[in-house]
Subunit: 409 residues, 2 copies
C-alpha cells in the first residue's frame, strides 16, 4: 500500500508558510503502515493540480490532498479531484443548508461562492468538519482513494487524527512502521556508521544515521503488525548498538542531552552550577528547561563582562585572570561558582563567539570549557566554526558532553 | 524563468522533520522573481531521486535540491544529478585533501566514505561550504541548471542566502517580489488589523498580518522591476503604519526584540543586568545573543534555587523574601543585581513554569517581572498559559517589552 501527499496552495510555493501539515500527515501514514514515496506541492492552478493528482494516482494507491477546499475562487481541490478521476461535481443540498444556517447564526451575509463548499465529486463521500465550513472528502474510483483535508490548522489536525487516520489504518491492513531514535554524542556520523555498518545491512529493522549539531541520531525503524511487535524487533538492535557504542549513546527518542545530564545527577543525588560568559546563560537555560531540574541545578552567574566576573565571582582580582578567554579564567570560573554554591560539579564557558576577534585578540571560535569536580578541574580547549549562534550552541553541547563524561567516570 | 524545489530525505517522507528549508528556498526564488510551480519531496532512493529530478528538469529551467550531500551511503543527491543529466561523477582531489585536513585537525579518523563528499558531476561547479564538509553544487547542462544544497541548517541557510541567491538573481531578471516585515509588540493581531485596515486595501504593496508568539508581524510585499523599486513602494506604507502604531513597531525584518533593546541601550550609553529564577538564564542568553551586546549587557545571576538566591544576591536573608514567587522577591532580585553590577537598568523574572504548582503553592503560569531603574522598581504580575517552555518564552518576551517601555519613557 503506497500513498502520496499533495499539498495545494500558492502560499506554500512562495514560502510564506511552512508546510507542517504534510509532516503531520506523513507521520500518520507511517504509523498506519502505509509507505509514502513522494510528496508534491502545487499552487492554486487547476491544470497543475489535476496533473499533479494524475501523476500521484498513477504511482500510489492512496493520495492525501491538503488545502484548497475553501469557498474562494482559488480553492480548486474538489474540482481537480473530479477532473483527475474523470468524474463530475454534484451539490449536496443538506450541506448547503447547513452552511446557510451557519452563516445566518453568525450574522454573515451568504454569498453564492460559499455554495462551492457543498459540492463534491459523485464518487466521493463527505468527511464531517466540526471545526469549519468546508467538509473533507474521501473519493474512491478504480481501486484508488483520494482523501481531501482542509488547510486551516484548527480543522486539519482534528480531521487528520480523528477521522482520516482510522480510515487509513483500515487501508494499511495490519502493518505499522515504527521508529526509535538512539542519540549518540562524542562520535561523528561517519565513525558511528563505520562502527555499526555490519548491523546496517538489516532490512527490518533498518538503521539510518542522521547528523545533528554536535551529535548523531541513529533511527531504527521496524515494520510489524503492531507497535508492540515493532518494539520487539527494535530492542535487540538497540542492544547491539549500545554494546558497540557504549556510553556514547546518551538517550532515546526525545531525550535531550540536558535531560540525560539531569537524570544522571538525580540518580546520584548530585548537583551542578554554571558560570558562563560567552554563552550568556544559554547553558543554564538548557539545564533549567528540564522539568524537575531545580533538584540538581542550583544556579549560576552570567559574567558577560570582566567587570561582572570581578563583582560576582569571589577572588577574581588575580592579575593572572585579566585575559577573559584563557584556560586560567575557565578554571577560575568553574571552581569559584562551585565553591560559592557548594555543588558537586560546576561548568564554566568562556570564549569568543564573534563576530569579530576583538576579545583580547583571540580568534573567533576559540572556547575554553571548565569542568570542576571534587577531584580537580579539567579545562577543554575547543575551536568551533560557524556563526555566533552556532559557536554558542556547540559550546553548550560540548559542555554538557564533558559534564556527562565527568559524572560517568 | 521557472524553478522547482526537490527536497531529498526519507526523514521528510516519514514526517520526522518539517521541511523549513523548502519554504526558505521558495521565498528566495520569489524574491529573485523566479516562479516556482512545483515542489517535490522524495526519499533516499536513487531511482526515485533520479526520476523526480528528470520530471522537474522537463518542466523547469532551474531545479534546487536540498539535502542528500553528506558522506553516508544514503546521501545520493550528487549521484542522482549526474544520472539525471546523463553525466558521470569525478573526484576533486583538492576537496578531498581539504576534507582530510579538516578531519586531521579535529583528530577525527578519516573513513573512506568521507571521500564521497569530494565527488561532483563533471558538468558541475562546487559551491564552497565554509560551515560544513559537503560542498554545494551548481550543475549546468542543456540550458538547465541544478543547484544542490546541503541539509544541515547551519550549512543550508548561509549557502542559500550568500551564494545561491546572487546566482538566482542573475537568472531571474525582470520582476522581483520583495517583502519587508514590521514587527509589532503590545498590540494584538485583530487590533493591529483594525487600526490599519484602511491601508490593507492596497494591491501593490499588499499588507498581511501574522500572529507570532507575543507579537504581530505585518508583512508588506511589493512587486517591482528591482528590489530598489520595491523598497520605494514599501517605504510610504511603512511610514503610514508607524504613524498609526507608534512605538509598538519595534523593528523590521529579522530585528528581534532583544536587538531592539540592545540598540536603544547602545544609543543612550546605558547598561542592563538580569536576575532570573524561572527562566534559568533564558533572558540573559537572548540579550547576549546580540552581536556587540557586551557593551550594554553586563551580566547576571541565575538563582534557580532559594539557596542560590541567598548566596548570589546581597541582602537576601530578609524573611519577607521566603516566598520565591512573589512581587517582593522580583523587586529584590532586580534591585539587588542592579546595585551589585551598577547598571542603569535591571530585569528580574521569578515565577512558576510548571509542570506542577508545587513552588509555594503558586499556580502554574504566575510570573513576576521586575524592572529596576534609577526612578524605582516596577513589578508586573503576569499569568501565562501553555506548557513550561511557552511560559518561559512569554515571560522573557514580556520582560523585554517592559524594559523597552522603561527605556523609551
Amino acid at each position: 500500500m503506497d500513498a502520496e501527499i499533495v499539498s495545494v496552495g500558492t502560499e506554500l510555493l512562495l514560502g510564506q508558510i511552512v508546510d507542517t501539515h504534510a509532516a503531520t500527515m506523513a507521520r500518520i501514514l507511517a504509523e498506519c503502515g502505509i509507505s509514502c514515496r513522494h510528496r508534491a506541492t502545487v499552487g492554486d492552478n487547476l491544470d497543475r493540480v489535476v496533473e499533479t493528482l494524475k501523476v500521484a494516482l498513477s504511482r500510489a494507491d492512496v493520495v492525501v490532498t491538503i488545502g484548497g477546499l475553501g469557498p474562494t475562487a482559488d480553492d480548486l481541490t474538489r474540482d481537480a479531484i473530479a477532473l483527475a478521476f474523470d468524474d463530475t461535481l454534484e451539490k449536496v443540498p443538506e450541506v448547503e443548508e447547513k452552511l446557510k444556517q451557519f452563516f445566518a447564526q453568525r450574522g454573515i451575509t451568504w454569498v453564492e461562492s460559499n455554495g462551492r463548499q457543498a459540492m463534491k465529486p459523485t464518487c466521493a463521500d463527505l468527511i464531517d468538519n466540526p471545526n469549519g465550513t468546508a467538509p473533507g472528502l474521501v473519493a474512491r474510483k478504480n481501486g484508488k482513494t483520494v482523501f481531501a483535508l482542509p488547510g486551516p490548522r484548527g480543522e486539519f489536525d482534528p480531521m487528520a487524527y480523528n477521522q482520516v487516520k482510522p480510515m487509513l489504518e483500515n487501508l494499511g491492513g495490519g502493518v505499522v512502521i515504527h521508529s526509535r531514535v538512539l542519540r549518540v554524542i562524542g562520535v561523528g556520523e561517519s565513525m558511528a556508521e563505520e562502527k555499526i555498518k555490519h548491523l546496517m545491512v538489516s532490512e527490518n529493522p533498518t538503521i539510518a544515521p542522521y547528523a545533528q549539531p554536535m551529535e548523531v541520531h541513529l533511527r531504527i525503524t521496524a515494520k510489524a503488525p503492531t507497535v508492540f511487535a515493532a518494539e520487539h524487533l527494535i530492542d535487540p538492535v538497540e542492544e547491539s548498538i549500545r554494546e558497540i557504542l557504549g556510553d556514547a549513546v546518551y538517550g532515546t527518542n526525545l531525550t535531550t542531552l540536558e535531560m540525560a545530564v539531569k537524570d544522571l545527577l538525580s540518580e546520584r543525588g548530585e548537583t551542578i552550577s554554571t558560570a558562563e560568559s560567552m554563552t550568556g546563560g544559554g547553558l543554564s537555560a538548557r539545564l533549567s528547561s528540564v522539568p524537575g531540574s531545580s533538584d540538581v541545578f542550583k544556579g549560576g552567574v552570567v559574567t558577560y563582562t570582566i567587570e561582572a566576573k570581578n563583582l560576582l565571582l569571589e577572588g577574581a582580582d588575580d592579575p593572572q585572570l585579566n585575559d577573559p578567554v584563557s584556560p586560567e579564567v575557565a578554571k577560575f570560573m568553574a571552581e569559584s561558582i562551585r565553591r560559592q554554591l557548594g555543588t558537586t560539579y560546576a561548568i564554566s564557558i568562556t570564549g569568543n563567539a564573534g563576530p569579530t576577534s576583538d576579545v583580547g585578540q583571540k580568534p573567533v571560535g576559540l572556547v575554553y570549557i571548565g569542568i570542576a569536580t571534587e577531584q580537580g578541574t579539567h579545562v577543554e580547549e575547543c575551536r568551533f566554526r560557524g556563526i555566533r549562534e552556532d559557536i554558542c550552541k556547540r559550546a553548550e553541547q560540548t559542555a554538557l558532553r564533558l559534564i556527562r563524561e565527568a559524572i560517568l567516570n
